[in-house]
């Protein structure tokens, strides 16, 4: 496991000075595959007095709460962007679909019904302050328990199966868990149920460095054009730029956590977001692909340095039901 701790970045600290909706810090590349759950302990492992101890049962309860909420509600920024799209839509079929979707979102919240029947595979992002020690059961097992209970109690669809036999695991587990270790003594959990109509349309490109910014924008617009009507547009486009093959894909997913309409702090990255969005909407795929004004609600890019020989670009497509909930413990 490689940990690039970015201790210089004050935004990465998980303490009370930071709002739950954090600006995402320069990412540290940490992916611990969930099936690797062997314990790693030093000969005199233990917690000293300076550690904050959190029982993993609290993590389970947090994941449970987040999953129950996330599957029945779209994010506030999604809801705003969808209303704005409805107001300016000129195509009758798209305007009709946008009206139905607005009615659906309020119905779902009111009746605690999943916004979309595809309650997704559970992507769980856990940022762990390095002054935190866990007690209780295995962390990953507790996350899965939270998912299992929420999908049962919430009457959510269990959509996870073996990739080859296609036999359903019957409880929507395992969750896909991404861990980050950051300074501080808090734990931040983000739960994103990811539907596969849109996930299937996601792409990764290993561009040549000479293709530059134009190449990056072309890749983003090309992925959305190729997806066409299939991912339930208007979509939200998460983009990873740089890193390695796998970290680039993870950046793209993390970009989807950012509220729609918030731009990257770097001007050149914000330019890519704005320019790509404009060109995507010029495609006139429209809501549901019926041919209209809004094909994407937003484009969010995350960047990290890459190798001198490469320019990886990952495009993770999110459907019109942007669902994402965060809590800080």
């Amino acid at each position: 496991m490689h940990i690039y701790n970015n201790t210089q970045n004050p935004a990465a600290r998980l303490d009370e000075n930071v709002s739950p909706v954090l600006k995402y810090p320069a990412p540290r590349v940490i992916i611990i595959h969930q099936y690797e759950r062997r314990s790693i302990s030093a000969p005199c492992a233990g917690t000293d007095d300076s550690m904050r101890v959190i029982d993993t049962k609290q993590i389970e309860e947090c994941v449970y709460r987040l999953a129950l909420k996330a599957c029945v509600s779209v994010t506030p920024s999604c809801s705003r962007a969808m209303s704005a799209a409805a107001e300016r839509e000129s195509s009758p079929a798209c305007a009709f679909a946008l009206r139905v979707l607005a009615e659906n979102a309020s119905l779902a919240l009111r009746e605690k019904m999943p916004v979309c029947q595809d309650t997704g595979m559970s992507a769980v992002f856990i940022s762990i302050g390095q002054e935190v020690a866990f007690s209780g059961g295995a962390l990953a097992d507790c996350v899965d328990s939270g998912v299992r209970r929420a999908y049962e109690d919430g009457y959510f669809r269990k959509s996870v199966c073996d990739p080859l036999t296609r036999v359903n695991t019957s409880d929507n587990t395992p969750a896909v868990i991404h861990y980050d270790v950051v300074p501080g003594d808090r734990v931040k959990i983000t739960f994103m149920p990811k539907g596969f109509g849109s996930e299937n349309m996601s792409r990764i490109y290993m561009l040549k460095p000479s293709e530059g910014v134009e190449g990056v924008i072309g890749a983003i617009v090309g992925a959305v054009r190729d997806a066409g009507s299939r991912p339930c547009p208007p979509v939200y486009v998460g983009v990873g730029i740089g890193g390695t093959f796998e970290s680039c894909a993870l950046l793209a997913k993390k970009a989807l956590i950012r509220p729609i309409g918030e731009h990257h702090i770097r001007d050149d990255v914000a330019y890519i977001e704005t320019e790509a969005l404009e060109r995507i909407n010029a495609l006139r795929i429209g809501c549901q692909g019926f041919g209209g004004d809004t094909t994407a609600l937003g484009v969010s890019c995350e960047v990290m340095p890459t190798h001198i020989a490469g320019l990886p670009v990952a495009v993770n497509i999110q459907c019109n039901c942007v669902r994402c909930e965060t809590e800080v413990l």
């Binding site: 009709f96 979707l101 979309c116």
Partner: protein
């Protein structure tokens, strides 16, 4: 624009009167059928085993519902991406499938099959799972219960909001097929 209210099964005359882009609501009986159920149906057809339901005259709804809350007929139940069923659809239209409700574009081969058999393809609204689920009046599993949400359920629906996506002339509402 007010939706045209249609009742399934549609008469040949009604099907002919529909045009790609028409806004409609659908009521009547449909069978949910998605990826794994299609695989199963084709296995049965290969082996010559009788299916527990009729394809002829049926309307398939590409969907896999959520479990119902107590007191509800069905949980959230919106359409899934039709393109994944493209390889199965032409043969099913040939066997008398009356129509399909799904979402998103279908292949030129499927459009051709729709035109040849004089059927049409409806797009329900992808992402409107709760609203579509509430349009379900009754729900009964008729085949492959081991497939859980991917089993075949007979649904009676009332006023499901939809758009005519491919009409009986093979015209499509989607950008990829518009000329």
């Amino acid at each position: 624009m007010f939706p045209k209210r249609l009742s399934l099964p549609l008469s040949a005359e009604t099907v002919r009167s529909l045009r790609a882009g028409d806004i409609v609501t659908l009521s009547g009986e449909v069978l949910t059928c998605r990826d794994e159920a299609h695989k199963r149906i084709f296995e049965y057809l290969e082996k010559g085993i009788d299916l527990p339901f009729e394809i002829e005259g049926a309307t398939f709804f590409y969907a896999g519902p959520c479990p119902p809350r107590p007191g509800k007929a069905c949980g959230s139940c919106g359409p899934t991406t039709s393109a994944r069923m493209d390889s199965f659809a032409p043969r099913l239209y040939g066997l008398g499938l009356a129509g399909v409700i799904g979402k998103g574009e279908v292949s030129p081969e499927v459009r051709e099959a729709i035109k040849r058999s004089g059927r049409c393809y409806f797009a329900a609204i992808g992402g409107a799972g709760a609203l579509c689920g509430n349009a379900v009046v009754s729900c009964e599993c008729v085949a492959f219960p081991d497939l859980l949400s991917e089993a075949v359920y007979k649904l009676v629906i009332k006023d499901l909001p939809s758009v005519v996506a491919v009409d009986s002339g093979g015209r499509s509402v989607y950008a990829d097929a518009r000329t």
